[in-house]
Symmetry: C2
Subunit: 346 residues, 2 copies
DNA sequence: ATCTCCGTGGAAAGCGCTTTCCAACACGCT
DNA sequence: AGCGTGTTGGAAAGCGCTTTCCACGGAGAT
């Protein structure tokens, strides 16, 4: 069953040239080879069905064609959009994408970087927010240092906390603008589905939102801030707490879209209409949003583009200092938000 | 900057043992090594920060730890769900997933299998429907043969046309049951957004749907079958044709969910209400569906599970004949379908 | 006391490729 | 004719690891 593979040596022998010449012809070398030999080698390679052994090449060159992509959950539209951007650029550059998923486990994150390091991956894109866990951060930073010391390039999509090139979305200012936009609609009592307290992206968005409210002279009582998972189900579950809290809020901000979607479903189940009874807004503008009814107000982030940018950072020539690419967020008010009805979450 | 990596030889020397012994200790060998030496090797490996070079291992062992995953578009929820299943199983087995995207280009598909072959990937999951293009099919089949001849295992998710292990969803019978369910609601005039004519999955679903209608003595005029892209935008665009065709249909079946979502949006834009004016159903039950309003009726496929199964097929012990795992589809009627209003698509 | 058998360590031969280094040769000069 | 110069081909030394094969020594059997 398992048939032996054609090797370069066989091609060389068959073509009557040396191993060196065959290698030079078949794999991009700067060295000149006469037209005659070149043709002969190319011909027999094709005839024999020669396929270079990527492991052998990686070993000899001490560098592979692999690009790592680390995400928390590839089924989450946020990450799959970023992944689409990263793969597009990487594949266009002739590279091969290795996908690793962490399930939000920081140890797994470290493990993945380690694996990529073992494979001599040439570059690495890490998507997903940092947390407040200092020791996890430190371990990851160590692993990243080792990776770059090997000659690998690393870029992150999130917060620039790891000393790498980073694409950072405008979480704070985006949320701040959103808050102002919502206040402009007439809302005065807000609640926030804030996600997990240790997730920096969640904290930043909450902080930005608070700042935006403060700009308008509105306060956000702590009781109106509900923590939960950073997922659709987290948003769904948080609504029970939210309703129980009797905040009187007329507008709910969920720190990301999938949470907002879960929240909208839960609100409906509680017999509350969006936006008539309560307005809802999210953050990210994941692609599936445009088919929601009512369409969800949010802060648009160019997710695929962010993936592309991260990939480009990592494929560029090496530069001295870590670069930070800031990506603006655009407030998009859609049907899920309207002027307050006066009812709210009693 | 680029620091040299610690090699096995250095560990061996430092620990005062032979290369062979160090290798045996550090990388799962069946050979016994005395407790004393084992400890010594393990200790110095840790002290030196030894990390095996995966390329070297792959070369020496003539087999890697890579598993290929080929999808059309990772941002499509259908594929990202399958991808989540595949990665879960592969990573649990200690393997590394290589993600390749084709953008529905058959040449790219072949190219990707070729690349994976060059990397001596141990297994390969190809997701995505086959088409009626015989020559593309043949080239892919050749590449797959070469891959398996090398000792690699391949599984597909779609139609069992490639002589590989395959996870095949019940496209025909699912669509047939759906048609009957819709007829049971009272519908008699249907239209189908049929996707591209050369996509087997689209054809199968259309055929199944027709068969189900025939069971109920209902005919589907060719004029009521609209072809378009297999995407959200394809579904959206098809609605213009659909409306122009003045089919009088009271129920529209889109051969997949993303098309149905696009269609629902387009219908709304045409001032048509779902389901009051026209019922809509899809196929797949992608995760985002549950947050649509009205919730979309569909045929549920266990997408992540299908990915898991494909991964398991490919990681199992080798068996003689190609296996086919059939996955049933479950008709789920939700709010997007209701008894016909009598109006329909005039 | 001798022989066999087994458990354990090491030497060395690859795995398939890249790349350095050298040799050979053809030029164009002086 | 003699000499650099530039171009092209090949020999061979790795890249870091696995694994075969052999050697050695002690344990048990005779």
């Amino acid at each position: 069953m398992t048939s032996r593979q054609v090797t370069l040596a066989e091609v060389a022998k068959e073509a009557g040239v040396s191993l060196a010449t065959a290698s030079r012809v078949l794999n991009g070398s700067t060295r000149q080879v006469s037209e005659e030999l070149r043709e002969r080698v190319l011909g027999t390679a094709r005839a024999l069905g020669y396929l270079p052994n990527a492991s052998a090449q990686a070993l000899a060159r001490n560098s592979s064609v692999l690009v790592g992509l680390v995400v928390h959950d590839i089924a989450d539209p946020y990450f799959s959009s970023i992944a689409a951007g990263v793969t597009r650029i990487a594949e266009a550059a002739g590279l091969v994408v290795v996908l690793g998923t962490t399930g939000r486990d920081p140890r797994r994150e470290v493990e993945l970087v380690n694996t990529l390091r073992a494979h001599r991956a040439r570059a690495l894109v890490i998507a997903g927010s940092r947390t407040t866990d200092r020791s996890a951060s430190r371990r990851l930073a160590e692993e990243i240092t080792a990776f770059t010391a090997q000659g690998g390039r690393v870029a992150c999509v999130s917060q620039a906390k790891l000393g790498t090139d980073t694409v950072v979305p405008a979480n704070r200012s985006g949320a701040r603008s959103l808050a102002r936009g919502l206040a402009a609609l007439g809302h005065r009592r807000f609640a926030v589905l804030a996600g997990p307290p240790d997730l920096l992206v969640a904290r930043d968005r909450l902080a930005g939102f608070k700042a935006g409210l403060a700009d308008e002279g509105i306060e956000l009582p702590d009781a109106n801030v509900i923590t939960s998972g950073f997922t659709r189900d987290g948003g769904h579950a948080a609504v029970a707490d939210l309703v129980a809290a009797r905040t009187g809020a007329t507008c709910v901000f969920a720190v990301n879209d999938v949470m907002a979607m879960g929240a909208m479903a839960a609100l409906r189940e509680h017999g509350l209409r969006v936006p008539e009874d309560v307005s809802v807004a999210g953050f990210d503008d994941i692609p599936t949003l445009r088919d929601l009814v009512p369409a969800l107000s949010t802060v648009r982030l160019p997710l695929e583009d962010m993936g592309e940018r991260a990939a480009r950072l990592v494929l560029d020539d090496v530069v001295a200092a870590p670069r930070t690419v800031r990506v603006a967020g655009e407030v998009v008010l859609r049907a899920s938000t309207s002027p307050p009805s006066g009812i709210g979450l009693r």
